[in-house]
């Protein structure tokens, strides 16, 4: 029933010259998304992937189990000295992420361009 979560990794360079790793998600973010969300994140080289952008542009449904996976990613990133940002959330999920406090640990931006420009 849940739409499979797909994830892919892109590399960008910010205008300030910093390498940025983008995790692009597609489908639902739910309890079945552990490999796509945490597995993809854990496959990144921790020495070089210091700025991480989460792309939710193609995600329609995120439930509390999916939010918990994002929090687990943030915990691991904080323990590895990485900074995490996100973009592409709908107005509703921007509100939900704010309500649960994720915005304290991951800056949210409306678009990739605005996120990359700020890094």
């Amino acid at each position: 029933m849940q739409s499979e979560t797909k994830a892919r990794v892109d590399q960008l360079t910010s205008p300030a010259g910093h390498p940025v790793t983008v995790l692009r998600f597609e489908g639902d973010i739910a309890s079945t998304s552990k490999d796509a969300v945490l597995g993809t994140y854990q496959g990144l080289p921790k020495e070089t992937a210091k700025l991480i952008l989460l792309d939710f542009t193609k995600v329609d449904y995120i439930n509390s189990s999916g939010i918990a996976l994002v929090i687990q990613l943030l915990i691991e990133a904080a323990n590895s000295g990485q900074k995490v940002y996100a973009f592409g959330l709908s107005a509703h999920f921007t509100k939900v992420f704010t309500m649960v406090g994720i915005t304290k640990y991951a800056g949210l931006f409306p678009s990739q361009a605005e996120a990359v420009a700020a890094l």
Partner: protein, 147 residues
């Protein structure tokens, strides 16, 4: 629809993760017919999905022989949604999730469903069923029609 007549829509879900989306879509369709604003429909969708996930996972413990009942009662100015399972119901409300405690490993990353439900609808109550069956959560979202 200029005059909305009170009506009831019922859905019965298998206790399998993912089927909460069926109830979520049905509730959204009813709310749209009633004239709810898009942002309130989104609030309702998340609240109904989380209530169904709790019923599937905690109430019916993923037992596919049990089903989750979802009863949507549309009135003149509000929509009530009851999500019914075969569990014993909530004994106590869980503590409000704390992102700082989660980030520092002092509480688990999960446990946000009930908080989201309460935050997104106008009323939410958890009712334990008699003899440990037919417990339900009752959600109410009030109509604030678009101008």
């Amino acid at each position: 629809m200029s005059e909305f007549k009170s009506t009831t829509v019922e859905v019965r879900l298998p206790s399998r993760m993912g089927f909460e989306k069926v109830a979520m879509s049905t509730a959204a369709a009813v709310a749209k017919l009633m004239g709810f604003r898009e942002d309130r429909v989104e609030d309702l969708k998340t609240a109904v999905a989380e209530a169904c996930i709790n019923a599937i996972e905690h109430g019916n413990r993923l037992n596919e022989k049990l089903s989750v009942g979802v009863v949507m009662s549309a009135g003149a100015d509000s929509l009530e949604v009851k999500v019914i399972d075969d569990g014993t119901g909530m004994r106590k409300q869980p503590a409000r999730p704390d992102i700082d405690r989660k980030m520092h490993g002092e509480e688990g990353p999960r446990g946000m469903g009930m908080f989201l439900i309460q935050a997104l609808v106008d009323e939410a109550e958890w009712v334990a069923g008699k003899e440990g069956k037919s417990s339900y959560v009752r959600l109410v979202i009030r109509l604030d029609k678009e101008a």
